[in-house]
Every structure is written in structure tokens, then in C-alpha cells.
Symmetry: D2
Subunit: 145 residues, 4 copies
């Protein structure tokens, strides 16, 4: 599957359509097989004890799956998550960013399926894994302008 966007284009797209989260997420790398995202961990992502919260990990999984889909269909703001299954496996390390590694497993006309492994930066074992389904809007509906 050919790539429709590179990392710089994806970061520009995020900054344009998701002002709310600009400064939180950053595309690190994109290849045909995968996308690497960074969650720039801030106070609002933390739970008592300094660990990253479940909703913040979910948010990273969600954005990573979105980006790995967009990498192959181009910028469409209206794609929506329809389903997510997530396993929280280890406590994230304190004081470091989270890294999401997403891969696209299926790109259909109406649905994409991808999975994501989430790591505390610098750790070998993932803290969470997630699989997500995105509903893709019909072409032409969404120009993200």
C-alpha cells in the first residue's frame, strides 16, 4: 500500500484539525508498514503517583491508529473510531514520554483495522496493546479544509 502522507504532512494535519491536542501528539516516523507516535506526557496525563492515566494511553492508541490509517488514505478529518479493545499490561514509567507503534492490518472501503503497541520511552516491554477499527467516510465528503 502506497503512502499518501509523510510525517511532516501528518503533523501539519494534526495541528490544523486537532488544535485541542496540538502539542500533545507528534508523528515520529512513518513507513508503509507502520507509524510511530509520541505522547508528550504532561501533568494532565498523570494519575496519582505520577503514572500516565488510562485515558491518556487510550488517546495515544486512538491517534496512532488514526494516523496509520490516514497515512494510506490521505487527510480526512471525519474518520471515526468505532471500536477499540485495549489491554493495560504494565505500569508506565514515570517521567518519560509514551511511544505508540501502529500497524495497519486492513484497509477496506468502509473500515480500517490496526493495532498499536504502547511503550514507555526506553523500555523494552510494552505497557499496553490496543486494536482499533475506524469507519472511513466516503471519498469527497471530507476535505479537511
Amino acid at each position: 500500500m502506497a503512502l499518501m502522507m509523510d510525517a511532516a504532512e501528518m503533523n501539519a494535519f494534526l495541528g490544523k484539525v486537532f488544535l485541542e491536542v496540538a502539542g500533545e501528539y507528534q508523528v515520529e516516523a512513518v513507513s508503509e508498514a507502520s507509524v510511530t507516535m509520541r505522547l508528550l506526557v504532561q501533568d494532565r496525563h498523570l494519575r496519582p503517583g505520577g503514572t500516565v492515566s488510562g485515558p491518556a494511553m487510550f488517546g495515544l492508541a486512538d491517534v496512532t491508529a488514526y494516523m496509520v490509517t490516514l497515512a494510506h488514505i490521505g487527510p480526512r478529518a471525519l474518520a471515526v473510531t468505532t471500536n477499540c479493545a485495549i489491554d493495560f499490561m504494565r505500569k508506565p514509567a514515570a517521567g518519560v514520554d509514551l511511544i505508540g507503534e501502529g500497524r495497519l492490518l486492513k484497509l477496506g472501503k468502509q473500515l480500517s483495522v490496526s493495532d498499536v503497541l504502547i511503550y514507555s520511552e526506553g523500555m523494552a516491554q510494552p505497557v499496553a496493546r490496543a486494536s482499533l477499527t475506524y469507519a472511513i467516510p466516503p471519498q469527497g465528503v471530507d476535505l479537511a479544509e
Copy 2:
């Protein structure tokens, strides 16, 4: 299963151990069968267009499942989510709170399983459904003091 906490005790517990989210979540009602939670929707929960974000819905599902578990085991800060499956079914209405209705399906020694329906306040059809598993710490480990 007997109740170990009422709504007032659960709200006090939330305020004590989750200062970060005090003012976001509120226990509305608790019975032997279920817990009703409110997400007081604020700007930080919104996506472009004024709709509540996926992570905010996930967060409500997570807290609701936690509260319906605590209602039956009493206050333990260390219980952790191990798994969540969530379906996003409809766009939340703009300008209203979200309501989570949680029910406990299993309370074992090590795990609880519950499910949650999420509604935009005043709407008949749920916007999302979720099922969650919590790992329960051994008794005595966690006094939440």
C-alpha cells in the same frame, strides 16, 4: 451482593484519591445492581465541532466500572484496569453531560468484570458501550489513606 459504599462515600473517595479528576466525575446513584456516573463535560473533553472526545468517553467508562466495583468491595485505590473493549455507536450531543450506567457482571477474588452504557443526558439511545476488567489488589494492601 451487599453494598460497601453509598454515593456520598464514593464521591468523597474520588475527591481524596483522584484530585486530578475531582470536578469532572460525580456519582449520581448507586444500587446493588448498578452505578450511575456523570461526566461534567468541560472544554478539555471536546473535539472539533463540540462533540465529546473518545478519550473522555473512555475515561467515563473506566471510572464507572471502577465505582461499580468499589461499591461492592469498599475503597481500594490500587485496583487497576487490565482490559477494556469499547464501541462508539453515535455522536454525543453537544452541550450536555454524559451519563454512564455501569453494572457488575462478576466479582471474583482477583478480577471484576462490568459493562457500561454511556448516554448523552436526555437521549434514549446510548452513544457508547464498554466492558472492562479490573484487577483487585489483595485485601489489606490498600487502605486508600
Copy 3:
């Protein structure tokens, strides 16, 4: 949502398009809100010790979700499961049938979402819960003739 099929029509449909499983599954009751299915437990559904196997429980959840969808769209053989999340909560009782209680949470043009509770007949506590998404074929594509 109006019903498009009653229990007798659903059993006839199952016998026609799923000869392989005729004699395994039986629609017990159908209402606007839910469908009740029975798995007539046979040797091939059992694991060592006489308990019903995971795949057999999954199969009941899958057929129940399919039937609760068809009850509202009418007979279409080509609907396919795209996603299932299932929690196995208790050991099924030996020597009794399994009962699936399905409810339809969303019926869209392309997707239906439902959830299912599975019981050992005569027991109060569910042995499993599942949520499933079905992709619905465009009208006219599938006459199930």
C-alpha cells in the same frame, strides 16, 4: 424498531442457510428489545470435564447477535461478524443447555452493534458476556434464497 421476523421465521431461516448448525441452535423468543437463543449442548461442544468449550460459547454469542440483527432487518445470509469482544466469567454447568440473551444497541446502515449475556440454563449468574459488530450487506444484494 419494528420486528421483521418472528421466532418461527428465524428458526426456518437458520435451518435453510445454516444446515451445518441446524439442530444446534434454536430461537426461543424474540421481542423488539431482545432475542433469546438456546445452544442444544452436544458432545462436540464439550471440553475435558464436561464443560462447554470456549468456541461453543463464542458460536452462541455470534449466532445470537446475528439473530438480533436479522430480527430488525429481515433475512440476509451475507451479514458478517467484523468484531467480537468476549469475557469468560464462570465455568458453565455440566449437563445443561446454554441460553444467550442478545440485545441490539445500534442498527446503522452498514453496521449493527449488539451485546449478549450467556447463561447455563437455570443459573442466575451469566457465564460469559460478549459484544459484537456485524457488517450489513447493501439491500438487494442478498435474498437468502
Copy 4:
């Protein structure tokens, strides 16, 4: 994580404790990182049209996750699946076996988490993906004798 069983030992274990499915599943390969399983597709696994059924794919995912767990803890018949999330992405090819590729993501004292990709033999794109949690019985409880 060191391996506790090789492929021959795993096949012998399957034949001993799962007589019901002997002849259906076969361990093809095992490494520290993963297990490859084969479902020897038979008539009972098929749906109308000759495609492998959902329950048969679920069964393969379940056994693969079990085997990748046992590879690291040794033979224990009593481990039970507590949760599975599965996405059905493509129609399996007719007339060929299914191959499951499982990897262990977490091995805790009480729970293991793994994920599985399922392929029609000889195809590049997976037909399904699944993630599963197993509850591990305390050591000494289960000798599988």
C-alpha cells in the same frame, strides 16, 4: 523468557489433555518470541460456501494463545481464557488450512496476554487478528497428569 516446552512436547500435551481436538490443531514451530499453529481444516469447520467459520477461527486463536503461554510456563491444563477480542478482516480462502501466529506480550503471575494473527495458508494478508488474556492457575495446582 526461556522456553519450557518445544513443539513436540506441546503436541504431546495437546494429544493428552485435549483428546477432543487432537487431529485438529498442530504446533508447527515455537521460538522464544512466538508460536505457529495449524488448524487442519475439516468439514466441521466450514460455513456455507466452504469458508472457515467464525467459531473455528476463534478456536484457533484460543489454542494459539494457550500454547504461546504454555511454552513459557510449562504444561498446565487448568489455565483458562478470561477475555478475547477478535477482528474478522477477510474471508478465509477455501480449501487450505489456517495458520495462527501467536506472540506473548505479558507473562504475569496470574495473567498472560498475547495476540494472534490468523492467515489462510499461503496468503500474505491476515484473515483475522485476536488478543487474549489467560488466567494462570497457581503452581502446583495442575500437573496435567
